[in-house]
């Protein structure tokens, strides 16, 4: 099966899931015990304003009509209006999206880079102190609550040592021309190096604490996969040919050892998206996770629905891309 055919098949299989997810997200607002409008705004508004809100949210329509209206609007990028800020929900999401993307990508980068380096060195030095400490580290890493780790990092690096800022993305008075909204990238291409360092300092602790769990898992998988590969015949042959050990490990062995690692990396994106909600809360990082938690606190249900729908859809599409990547790397998958 050609790759594009696989892609179309995979996309078609997604449609019922997308519909189902949207129905669940839509019904949420109707599952709240009691009257949703009362819970959202209480008696803070007049009877007329209440009627207007009811009409705006479409609560005077039958449920399926409401759903279809909401869903078709959502497909066109209209997720409704925030009750708290009166801004379009999609605008609120897009404003905060770059912060979350930047945090998640940098965390993924840290996890992959150090995960593979640590995993390979553990496998190379099997049963030594290096190996033992890597195993210990990955054991602790998967069990540590990342929000607590983030707080302890703040305690150490901000409060005690004063090296890194406690929260936010930039210091007061620092500005970066917004092109993509990814501060590190924008600062680099516009040549604002001081701002780049400032943004990096703000990003280090959140990204590191977010990366921990994935990093630990990648270390574990890389180590065991590398151990399997290193015992294969062709590695012995490569060594017998007199190749340098570094070349044997990093060129011959690593390439094959990485296949299971890629699978784990794909799965990590989901973890990172969930973890971002926690990390953003610890570091007051102005991303989508904060938006969601604030909206829940204010019972701003259009925003809650909008963010959940947006993230769930993004999650589904990321999974499709990861699947495609596997299909490209390993053609056998396409025939399953």
């Amino acid at each position: 099966m050609a790759l594009y055919k696989y892609f179309i098949k995979r996309l078609a299989l997604t449609i019922p899931t997308l519909l189902g997810v949207s129905i669940i997200v839509f019904l949420l607002i109707h599952m709240i015990p009691g009257d949703p409008i009362d819970i959202m705004v209480g008696d803070r508004i007049s009877a007329e304003a209440r009627l207007a809100l009811e009409e705006r949210l479409g609560f005077d329509q039958p449920l399926h009509v409401q759903y279809w209206q909401w869903f078709t609007n959502a497909l066109q990028g209209d997720l409704g209006i925030s009750i708290r800020s009166n801004q379009p929900v999609i605008q609120e999401i897009l404003n905060r999206l770059p912060a979350t993307i930047e945090l998640t990508l940098v965390a993924l980068f840290i996890a992959v880079l150090f995960g593979i380096i640590f995993g390979v060195s553990a496998a190379r030095h099997r049963n030594t102190i290096i190996d033992q400490s890597m195993i210990g580290f990955s054991l602790l890493g998967v069990s540590i609550p990342i929000f607590w780790l983030g707080m302890m990092l703040i305690m150490l690096f901000s409060v005690l040592l004063g090296w890194l800022p406690v929260s936010g993305r930039l210091s007061m008075g620092t500005a970066i021309p917004s092109i993509t909204g990814l501060y590190l990238f924008d600062a680099l291409i516009t040549g604002h190096f001081e701002a780049f360092i400032d943004a990096l300092k703000h990003l280090l602790m959140p990204a590191f604490s977010l990366a921990t769990v994935s990093l630990a898992l990648i270390v574990r998988v890389t180590r065991s996969s590398m151990l399997d590969v290193l015992s294969e015949d062709y590695i012995r042959t490569a060594r017998a040919k007199g190749l340098r050990e570094g070349k044997v490990v990093y060129v011959h062995a690593l390439k094959n050892a990485l296949i299971p690692v890629v699978t784990v990396i794909g799965l990590q994106l989901a973890k990172l998206m969930g973890g971002a909600i926690l990390t953003e809360t610890v570091f007051s990082w102005p991303g989508i996770g904060r938006l969601l938690i604030n909206a829940i606190g204010f019972r701003d249900y259009p925003v809650v629905q909008g963010v959940v729908l947006f993230v769930a859809f993004a999650f589904i599409f990321i999974n499709i891309i990861v699947d495609l990547l596997y299909a490209y790397l390993d053609p056998r998958i396409r025939y399953e």
Binding site: T17, I24, A270, G274, L278, L292, V308, A312
Partner: protein
């Protein structure tokens, strides 16, 4: 049966780390039961004269782990929190086990349209990032430990149902099930008497591995203040309460509850891992 259990215990005992984890887990369970009786103070008692007291490192014998921003005794709160975390964890396991088994058995045994509908619904639930799903369900249901349990169980029910369904599909084709059908056994009898006992091993392994995870999600909900009362002595909620005082140097409010979460999650994870290895080795024999 007894010799099988013995075999599992022998293999488990060889894993020293798992043995240590088992004892920590047992201590935590005991604390969860007796904690509220041995706690020196009321975990909810607010005292404005005792705010931000330092603990034993400052020679404080009255509040050995210090007090928080409202003067509440941290040691007592942690003891009460042990009961909260562990009981939510066990409740999540119980809910997941009952609902997941039920759905998986029905779906796997009856097949057909029922199976298709159930599996589609499960696919939809699995399409959400887990924390997001729990968060939204908790936000919808409102505050309360019973609701938080439900919200967290929903993360695991789809996966367990899938595991059970897969095992049922295999077990269904076994000669002893066919024999029972030929003997005219009723559907309920066959499911409860033949299918259920034979799918239990993977279920038990999955549930043991889930406990640490469930405790972590409970703390996460408490920390985010969704579904769990922020004033309750839940470990995650305690972290959230102490967060703003950390930059003032009041580290003890957040250090100790965090250590408890870490310890509980770590020991239950190691216990689960050890158990899985032991059971796997038994299956191989």
């Amino acid at each position: 049966m007894h010799s099988e259990l013995k075999q599992v215990i022998i293999v488990y005992k060889k894993n020293k780390l798992a043995v240590v984890a088992f004892f920590i887990a047992v201590i935590l369970m005991i604390l969860a039961i007796i904690g509220p009786y041995i706690s020196p103070h009321d975990p909810l008692e607010i005292s404005h004269t005792n705010r931000f007291e330092e603990g034993f490192w400052d020679g404080n014998t009255e509040h050995i782990l210090g007090t928080d921003n409202l003067g509440r005794d941290i040691f007592s709160r942690i003891l009460h929190g042990t009961r909260i975390s562990l009981s939510v964890g066990y409740a999540v396991i119980a809910i997941t086990a009952v609902v997941g088994l039920f759905i998986g058995l029905i779906s796997g045994y009856f097949g057909g349209v029922v199976d298709i509908v159930i599996m589609r619904f499960i696919d939809i639930l699995l399409a959400f990032p887990p924390l997001l799903l729990a968060l939204v369900i908790a936000a919808t249901l409102g505050t309360g430990l019973d609701r938080a349990m439900l919200a967290i169980a929903i993360i695991y029910i789809p996966s367990l149902a899938r595991i059970v369904r897969g095992s049922v599909l295999t077990v269904k084709e076994m000669p002893y099930v066919e024999a029972s059908i030929a003997m005219g056994g009723g559907k309920l009898w066959i499911i409860m008497g033949h299918v259920l006992p034979n799918v239990l091993t993977p279920v038990i392994v999955y549930l043991t591995l889930l406990l640490g995870d469930a405790i972590l999600y409970t703390a996460a909900l408490g920390f985010l203040g969704v579904g769990i009362d922020p004033s309750s002595p839940e470990w995650g909620a305690m972290l959230s309460g102490g967060k703003d005082y950390m930059i003032l140097g009041k580290w003890w409010i957040t250090l100790f509850p965090g250590i408890m979460i870490f310890l509980a999650v770590l020991s239950f994870n190691l216990f689960g891992d050890g158990l899985r290895e032991a059971v796997d080795s038994k299956l191989r024999l």
